[in-house]
């Protein structure tokens, strides 16, 4: 990383604050930011929350970055509302703040937003599932993130919307939090199957949870007749789509978000105008078994554009 080089007064600094340290999604984001920063001759500083939803650490990171004299901060907010006052302070101090991946609430609390629409990502996968089920009576398990985390909520809501059902619909027979963790996803699926052995559609918050679900289904010999759909688009996930373990996933583009973000800050540093508004970095449904009426790309495209 760029941290090895000592703080030099010559190059302008840009900060990247991700939700957590460890999700490959954010690792890819850092990679994109690093590449762009190098190209622009800027120094990148990074920080992260300690867990999904950790607002305090992000707040501290913003303060420290402002103290370190960054030109701009790119942030994927853990708490879309709670972070707003801190962002306002940073902007008051003359720092450009761009939200990546997740909008703040209100959205105009940041100078700009480079993001995918998580609700849309969920909707796509919901529509796909609806088509793929082809009129069969669905028995759905949703493997969600954790209580109160916006992304998880948006994707879940989007899925239901795309599938055409409301929260509390009886076809959802099992809902469980997994923290996006593979082992927890597996355990949740095992218990769901114990509870409702006839589940035939599984929505998961991300691909690790999906793979956990797959492992649980395989142990029961049910992996062939249950449809698993997911969101994220990491390389492991797309590979799993290719090999048929997961039916489809909504792919997002963290690398592009971060690259664009750094470039925008660099432009400001060079005296250009501040970035504005919402730039959709796009979401694509990846599957090799496309269904009518839902636009999708195949896994070859997915693998070429995946992260992680």
């Amino acid at each position: 990383g760029g941290g090895e080089q000592k703080a030099s007064t010559s190059s302008a600094k840009v900060g990247l604050i991700t939700k957590t340290e460890t999700n490959p999604f954010f690792v890819k984001m850092k990679e994109g930011a690093q590449k762009a920063a190098k190209a622009e001759g800027m120094e990148l500083m990074t920080a992260a929350g300690k867990f999904d939803g950790d607002n305090a650490s992000q707040l501290t990171a913003i303060e420290n970055m402002v103290a370190a004299g960054v030109k701009g901060i790119l942030i994927t907010p853990n708490d879309t509302k709670a972070i707003v006052p801190a962002i306002k302070k940073a902007r008051d101090a003359g720092v450009v703040v761009i939200a990546l991946d997740t909008p703040t609430d209100p959205q105009d609390a940041t100078d700009a937003l480079f993001a995918t629409d998580n609700l849309k990502a969920g909707e796509l996968i919901g529509q796909y599932a609806k088509g793929a089920m082809a009129g069969k009576t669905a028995k759905i398990a949703t493997l969600d993130l954790a209580p109160g985390i916006t992304v998880g909520q948006l994707r879940h809501d989007g899925f239901l919307k795309g599938f055409g059902i409301a929260e509390g619909d009886p076809s959802v027979v099992c809902s469980q939090d997994t923290r996006g963790d593979q082992a927890k996803g597996q355990e949740a699926m095992e218990n769901c199957l114990q509870k409702a052995p006839d589940i035939n559609l599984v929505y998961t918050i991300n691909e690790p949870a999906a793979l956990g679900a797959y492992t649980a289904l395989k142990a029961k010999g049910r992996e062939k007749d249950v449809l698993i759909v997911s969101v994220d688009g990491g390389c492991t996930g797309v590979k799993a789509v290719k090999s048929g373990e997961i039916a489809a996933t909504s792919q997002q583009y963290p690398l592009k978000m971060a690259e664009d973000g750094v470039k925008a800050v660099a432009a400001v540093a060079k005296g250009g105008a501040k970035p504005k508004g919402y730039t959709d970095t796009g979401v694509t449904l990846i599957t090799d078994k496309a269904v009518q009426g839902v636009e999708a790309k195949d896994t070859a495209f997915g693998l070429a554009n995946c992260w992680g």
Binding site: V27, P147, S175, Q182, A183, N191, Q194, K195
Partner: protein, 323 residues
């Protein structure tokens, strides 16, 4: 003083695992009444599979807690071990078995490092393992580059295979976990090393004055615990079929919960590893049973919290009665 003979039922009640065992049975009865799917061989096999990783971690945790220590780094060490064995097995051309050995050895090495810091510089175990937690966590992510390792050779997933006992599928991993518990029950109860661990937990000074090499003993405990975490890593890998850098982040507290629910004292010197197995099962039964009953996640958390307290309360009250 007059002497009353201890009758057999009295004896059973006064063993330290009686309370936890009672709590476990009560929980089973409750869920059996409230869910049709609970009381099946398959479901129990499932619960054991679900608790085997934390249960195995909790064996190492029990050893350390018996010496009046504590280990906050065990989940992180396990995650690192899992990444090492899977990365080596998939990427390096090393035979899978050697990769497994290397992964377990790395875990033992971190255990050794904990032990050395605790003894040679006399640092409190809590702070050593808290620091180690951060160190190992960071190393895991740096070494794995946050990539999940997939397409594992069969040797690494063998323990996830099942065999049949009657109608029920049981994984080799579950069997290994049970064997590990029996092994450590034997070691703690029937060997000199085990007795010394208890003596050390009672009082380090007393153990030292009795001529026990307390430093060597402590180091051996932490190293063996590390080794057990390595086995837990293998169990985890075989269960999930991947090497996952995100694994184990809440397992430190979960393993401590299992140990304490099993009746082992956090002040050291008192407790049984079989109690830990029961403690791990209590947690697993609750999670499984509540889910079968269709309780939403957040209420599961609520109920688990209440029941952790309740289980220990039952244990405590049952002990008080026999006093």
């Amino acid at each position: 003083m007059a002497v009353m003979e201890a009758t057999l039922p009295r004896r059973i009640i006064s063993t330290p695992t009686a309370g936890p065992l009672g709590a476990l049975l009560l929980a089973c009865v409750f869920f059996a009444v409230n869910s049709d799917q609970f009381l099946t061989g398959g479901n129990f096999s499932l619960i054991i599979q679900q608790v085997m990783v934390v249960g195995t971690l909790a064996i190492g945790q029990t050893l350390i807690i018996l010496t009046a220590g504590i280990d906050l780094s065990n989940g992180a060490i396990m995650a690192f071990g899992g990444i090492v064995m899977t990365k080596l097995a998939v990427g390096s051309g090393l035979p899978p078995v050697l990769a497994i050995v290397a992964g377990i050895a790395v875990c033992a090495a971190f255990g050794l490092a904990n032990g050395l810091l605790v003894t040679k510089i006399s640092l409190p175990p809590f702070i050593v393992t808290l620091g180690m937690l951060n160190v190992v966590f960071a190393l895991t992510h740096i070494y794995s580059e946050d990539q999940t390792v997939t397409d594992l050779p069969a040797a690494l997933t063998f323990l996830g295979q099942t065999f049949k006992i009657g109608e029920t599928n049981v994984t080799y991993g579950s069997l290994l976990t049970i064997l590990l518990f029996l092994f450590f029950a034997y070691v703690l109860g029937q060997t000199a090393w085990g007795r010394h661990v208890y003596a050390l937990g009672n009082s380090q000074e007393v153990a030292r004055l009795t001529g026990i090499r307390t430093q060597r003993l402590t180091i051996s405990v932490y190293t063996i615990a590390g080794l057990v975490y390595g086995i837990a890593a293998l169990l985890l890998v075989s269960r999930t079929g991947v090497g996952d850098p995100q694994a184990g982040q809440t397992d430190n507290l979960d393993s401590i919960t299992a140990v304490v629910l099993g009746g082992t004292s956090l002040f050291g010197g008192r407790g049984l590893v079989i109690g830990t197995l029961i403690g791990a099962l209590i947690v697993g039964v609750f999670r499984n049973g509540l889910q079968l009953m269709g309780v939403p996640s957040i209420y599961q958390t609520l109920i688990t919290g209440i029941l952790v307290i309740l289980a220990v309360t039952v244990d405590q009250l049952s002990r008080r009665r026999t006093r």
